[in-house]
Amino acid sequence: MNKTDALIIGAGPTGLFTAHQLKLIGLNCEIVDNLDKIGGQCIELYPDKPIYDIPAVPECTGGELTNNLINQIKPFNIKFHLSERVDEVKKEGDNWIVKTNNGTTFQTPNVIIAGGVGSFEPRKFPVKECEKLENKSVLYSIKDKSIFKGKTVTIFGGGDSALDWAVELSKNSKVNLVHRREDFRGAQATVDKVHELAKDGKINLYTKYQMSSIKGDDQLESIDIKNDDKETKTLNSDYALGFFGLIMQLGPIANWGLNIDKKTIEVDTEKFETNQKGIYAVGDICSYPGKLKLILSGFHEGALAARACFKLARPNEKYRFEFTTSSKTIKDRLGVKGD
């Protein structure tokens, strides 16, 4: 059991700055995120896209913003639990007991949800029959590529993941690559490589096609693909791999007894507390009159939620407001020299 003053769910910009604020006022915290990397939407959706509305930063990319926030919390050695999704939040006395899908548990008086629009999950095939073969012969990520050796693999998608795996698996497997249009959005060098392999007969390329149905009970047998002109082809396959990127799902948060409206959590604007005492929501996932889904709003919300956490984490102490420019205590926490 990990005991902490506050647990932050979500390692996006808001979660990171909230951690900074908690540590600055002398509380400890840990961060859980379902992604395998720090940065949330900034790193998953727009790592290279420029952002122009971070105060005092005329222009930076999602990746740069994330790196700067990571640098800002470096003095604090905050513990991250990546690739873990919080599944359960339960009240026990004055604390919340939080469990992740990996079995990690936390005991904390404060839970701060900085979860964006929820956790990132792979986008799935629209064909319903794929569900029963999921994680068996219908896959959305690859953990062990050796299982494909000597097999027929049909890959769907037009981005880097689809193309990279098509090239890689074509070495030891029969590969079909299916994409809904002729243009691929992956790196040009990989696109060229795929066309080259297709020319040599190492990859069977089906553009302007999409999955229409699959056959197989315990094991995939074949996949039907269809184009816009309703022409159908049947591809015998041992595996279907879908690489359509990630989508955000509210997921288990919906079961924690919080007031949720249109996938956002209602909070007050003093503490950013939800209808459950000691559970806060900040950033894109919270809603209140006038809410703006901007990164700068998330920073403000996190700063206030952090102060609210103080009361529950240190019930016998009084929080005293201090500036970073003048407080020796804060400077000690940051590890910087005073004047």
């Binding site: 959706l45 727009y46 799935k124 998608g157 037009g158 994409h179 959005r185 989508i247 799902q249 996938k263």
Partner: protein, 122 residues
């Protein structure tokens, strides 16, 4: 000039509205008036029309405001910018007439536009 649109007079400003029809996958028809300059996505969200999630809030970063534009309207709506087709790759059951509704900006010319909402956004 306003023959196809419905002006609303409010505090001395004229707000031009266009009628937009959203048809859900189970054939429920919702016709609403949306202010010119907003997007088809915003029109759906503001009027609580089911089936448009718009997770990223209009940043062309999530493909959860996917709609099908009726053939006779397809050439009239604001054309696709770089990146929209890439996002549509990730949409649920994309077709030839697929668009992201956050990228269609409402104007006089679109008064009467009909879009169909797919059965799911993800």
């Amino acid at each position: 000039m306003f023959s196809h649109t419905c002006p609303i007079f409010l505090h001395n400003y004229i707000i031009i509205m266009a009628k937009i029809t959203y048809v859900t996958h189970d054939n429920q028809v919702h016709t609403v008036e949306v202010q010119n300059g907003l997007t088809v996505m915003e029109g759906a969200v503001q009027n609580d029309i089911p089936g448009i999630d718009a997770d990223c809030g209009g940043g062309m970063a999530c493909a959860t405001c996917h709609v099908y534009v009726k053939d006779d309207w397809f050439d009239k709506v604001t054309p696709k910018e770089d990146g929209e087709e890439d996002m549509l790759d990730m949409a649920f059951e994309p077709k030839k007439n697929s668009r992201l509704s956050c990228q269609i900006i409402i104007s006089d010319e679109l008064d009467g536009l009909t879009v169909n909402i797919p059965s799911k956004q993800s």
